[in-house]
């Protein structure tokens, strides 16, 4: 009976997904309007701050999803790339007075170079073996940040990172910072979406499903893995740059293995290969610790158990397994063939 | 009482209804064949019997007791074994280990030993490859391994899903001879075959599946001479 029940629920969920897929444009517009008006409607600094975390982690989760969800490479060291970006931005802005616009571009480039550098020798390694290589990368980065004092100030961290500013106007209020990260998120979503709708995206997905077959289809698997890695780590670096300017202080403790796992958790929870999923996953796990303040001492326990429970109820992630594009295509196709049937 | 009775079985995958309320029986000592085009639901039916896929409705009774939606392991222990579609060998294990797993349910080491000896006799190439990882075997070798593995336990009911797939003509003949031989030794066989001509020629009875429904049934001979079957499944020529 229980079985039947959950099946009904699943069907309901599929229905909802179908409706979402069919109205994806409207939903996108509504979400966008919501995002834009959020800080105006909810003027509380606290809420805006939480929203900023949601958006920032969305960028990170999407960038990780690009390689983990779309290409099938599990990365346990994504915070490492975020750290590279954050340090690039922090060093450039505190020592050379570079503006956020340029530090963020530099952070993106440097982080993607690190991605390429890591990828070149290691991307031939497969599966779980590669996952631990990324873990190792994250740890190595953190330990270098901790020990290379002349560059990073080591455990002292870098403080006094200037605020973001644009054409001389400093973005000091949370609301300003909110709009900056919103723009970055929109850029990220746009880039990843465009990629996935192109031959490059199809190459990524084919690599995830079957490398050998992809190779036989004329796809230079190694090259595309490097491309994927570069873009993913670059976007993480971008988020890192934002983090640095937003927090004003960074030290190696901000880019630990736990942070990598947090980002991965967001990606998995949202659902592999789903951009809206990543946003939902990131927002959910950013809000959850705040929402759980009520249970005080039990906060972390409840948090952990909730992770497990959600996975048990939705084992492919919140939006995993639902490719809105496919659902829409199939729906339109069914409609069109139905139409033909009626005419005949 | 039939050995296996499938009553009004339906299986679906999401919105796709793969099997739509089919009923058939297999009596002890029979060879029964299911034929049908790609996608007719043959594999799905087999998988429902062994519990690998869950049925939406209907009942499957084996040897007097219902096995509907039981755990595959429990079903297998009741005396059903299957050589699945697509070989499904354990790629990182050796040929020998694969065969040993075929006899997982029996405690008696002798049975395993005998089974392996028989398997090597039936398919000498497996003996040559005994310590090779099964994943590196050629397609046909894997197919032989899958069939041999299903035979390790002397099941009451043997399900063979396209056992001749990818086998050289010589070996295909062996396989069909083998099916007759094991039937004579007391095992009941449910066979799915694309090589319908051969399959029907050794079968006592057969069922024709079309898009999830049984559309025809009869003895092997009857079906082989049925013009519809000839047209649709036997390449038009007889």
């Amino acid at each position: 009976m229980a079985n039947l029940n959950s099946k009904n629920k699943n069907e309901l969920f599929s229905k909802i997904m179908e409706i979402c897929a069919r109205n994806s444009l409207i939903i996108t517009i509504i979400s966008l309007l919501f995002a834009i008006s959020f800080p105006i409607v909810f003027s509380s600094q606290y809420l805006i701050n939480i929203a900023i975390n949601c958006l920032m982690y969305s960028v990170l989760a999407i960038s990780l999803n690009l390689i983990t969800g779309f290409m099938g490479i599990t990365s346990l060291g994504h915070a490492g790339f975020m750290g590279v970006g954050a340090y690039t931005a922090a060093i450039l802005s505190t020592r050379y007075g570079v503006n956020f616009i340029f530090t963020s571009i530099a952070a993106t480039i440097v982080a993607s170079l690190f991605g390429i550098l890591l990828g070149l020798p290691t991307l031939r390694i497969k599966g779980r073996y590669l996952a631990i290589v990324t873990l190792g990368f994250g740890e190595i980065m953190r330990i270098i940040e901790l020990n290379w004092v002349s560059l990073t100030r080591g455990p002292m961290g870098i403080s006094g990172i200037p605020r973001m500013s644009l054409f001389g106007v400093a973005f000091s209020k949370p609301i300003h910072k909110y709009y900056v990260i919103l723009v970055l998120l929109i850029i990220t979503v746009y880039i990843v979406r465009s990629l996935m709708n192109s031959r490059i995206g199809r190459a990524f997905s084919s690599i995830r499903d079957d490398e050998i077959a992809a190779d036989a289809m004329g796809i230079n698997v190694f090259k595309y893995k490097i491309i994927g890695f570069a873009i993913s780590s670059g976007l993480a670096g971008l988020a890192g740059a934002y983090y640095a300017h937003y927090m004003g202080f960074i030290d190696p403790n901000a880019f630990t293995f736990d942070e990598s796992i947090l980002i991965l958790s967001m990606t998995i929870m949202g659902g592999m290969a789903s951009i809206p999923g990543s946003i939902i996953g990131a927002s959910f796990l950013s809000i959850l610790p705040e929402a759980l303040r009520a249970v005080a001492d039990y906060r972390q326990i409840v948090y952990g158990l909730l992770l497990a429970v959600i996975m048990v109820f939705k084992p492919s992630g919140l939006l995993g397994g639902y490719n809105l594009k496919h659902i829409k295509q199939r729906f339109n196709f069914e409609q069109s063939t139905k139409g033909v049937d009626n005419h005949v | 009482m039939p050995l296996l009775e499938v009553k009004d079985l339906s299986v679906s995958f999401g919105v796709i209804k793969a099997v739509k309320g089919i009923s058939f029986t297999i009596n002890e000592g029979e060879i029964v064949t299911l034929i049908g085009a790609n996608g007719a639901g043959k594999t799905t039916t087999m998988n429902a019997i062994t519990g690998v896929v869950k049925s939406q409705s209907g009942d499957i009774v084996f040897n007097g007791s219902s096995i509907t939606n039981s755990n595959p392991a429990d079903i297998v222990k009741k005396g059903i074994s299957m050589s699945p579609e697509g070989r499904q060998v354990f790629p990182q294990m050796t040929v020998r280990e694969n065969l040993e797993l075929g006899a997982y349910t029996v405690k008696d080491k002798e049975v395993t030993k005998n089974g392996i000896r028989n398997a090597y006799e039936l398919f000498p190439i497996l003996k040559e490859r005994a310590f090779q990882q099964a994943g590196t075997l050629s397609g046909g070798e894997q197919q032989m391994l899958a069939v041999a593995r299903a035979l390790m336990v002397n099941p009451k009911l043997l399900l063979l899903d396209e056992p001749s797939l990818g086998l050289a003509p010589l070996i295909v003949q062996n396989i069909f001879n083998l099916i007759l031989k094991i039937r004579d030794m007391g095992t009941t066989v449910l066979l799915v075959e694309q090589n319908a001509r051969m399959a029907l020629s050794i079968s006592d009875r057969g069922y024709v599946l079309e898009t999830g429904k049984i559309v025809l049934d009869g003895t092997g001979k009857e079906l082989m001479n049925n013009p519809k079957v000839i047209d649709a499944y036997l390449g038009g020529l007889s």
Partner: protein, 256 residues
């Protein structure tokens, strides 16, 4: 010279102590349909793997369109115009049928990273073109109605067909089919035979491995027979059918 499209010289493939392919040479002419048969484990698939770059032969040379392709990567060889299907089906299972074929289209379209992000006309044209051609291929292979289904949800027989469609999408000159009729009934095999003949009509060169002798003997112009890695016979179907070594090693007495 130029009507030879593929030349294989003395290819040997060893795995540890096992010689899976042993000094095989062959020459394939443009537009031919050539069959490769032999007992299970004879080395046919391994031979395909050598030609398509999945393995690098232990010894020997392979020339494709007069170019030495020995040791090249599969994707490079595919780009040169050779495509294959796999004996153990290897589809992109989380992609739709249409997308599977569009992946095959990969090296025929050229839009790059920047194009895709900026949605340039180059990108748009490439996408439209890829989709159009993919649909053509699907029509041709009878899979058009399944275009938006996931590849895994197809029954076994149609998955084989999708493998063929995907290979065709790479715009090859030579197609290698590894047991294309496996899992098809006689009726479906007849369709396939017709389809392969049509392909020849479009100018493709086809090399196929098959155990279905009806198919092999009916459509192949020449046949190579492998046994224990070595070539034991070569000739037109009627010669092969009556070759005692082939009967002994492979066909058995049952086939006339």
């Amino acid at each position: 010279m130029s009507d030879t499209i593929l030349r294989v010289e003395n290819v040997t493939q060893r795995f540890g102590g096992l010689t899976a392919v042993n000094g095989v040479s062959m020459e394939i002419k443009k537009g031919e349909i050539v069959g490769i048969i032999g007992p299970n484990g004879a080395g046919k698939t391994t031979f395909f793997n050598d030609i398509t770059g999945v393995y690098t032969p232990t010894e020997g040379k392979i020339y494709f369109k007069d170019k030495d392709i020995t040791g090249m990567k599969p994707f490079e060889i595919t780009k040169l115009g050779m495509a294959r299907t796999f004996q153990n089906i290897r589809l992109f299972y989380r992609m739709t049928v249409l997308e599977n074929v569009m992946v095959g289209m990969h090296s025929r379209t050229k839009s790059n990273l920047i194009d895709s992000v900026l949605k340039t006309s180059k990108y748009n044209n490439a996408e439209i073109e890829a989709k159009k051609r993919a649909l053509e291929v699907l029509e041709l292979t009878g899979l058009a109605d399944y275009r938006y289904n996931y590849a895994t949800s197809l029954p076994y027989g149609l998955q084989r067909r999708l493998e063929i469609a995907r290979a065709m999408a790479t715009n090859p000159d030579v197609l290698l089919f590894d047991e294309p009729a496996a899992g098809m009934n006689e009726e479906e095999t007849s369709d396939l035979m017709k389809f392969i003949r049509d392909l020849k009509g479009y100018g493709y060169t086809i090399i196929l491995i098959e155990h279905d002798m009806r198919l092999v003997m009916n459509i192949c112009e020449r046949i190579y027979v492998l046994d224990h890695g070595s070539l034991i016979a070569e000739g037109i179907p009627s010669e092969i059918k009556s070759n005692p070594r082939v009967i002994e090693a492979y066909l058995g007495k049952g086939v006339q």
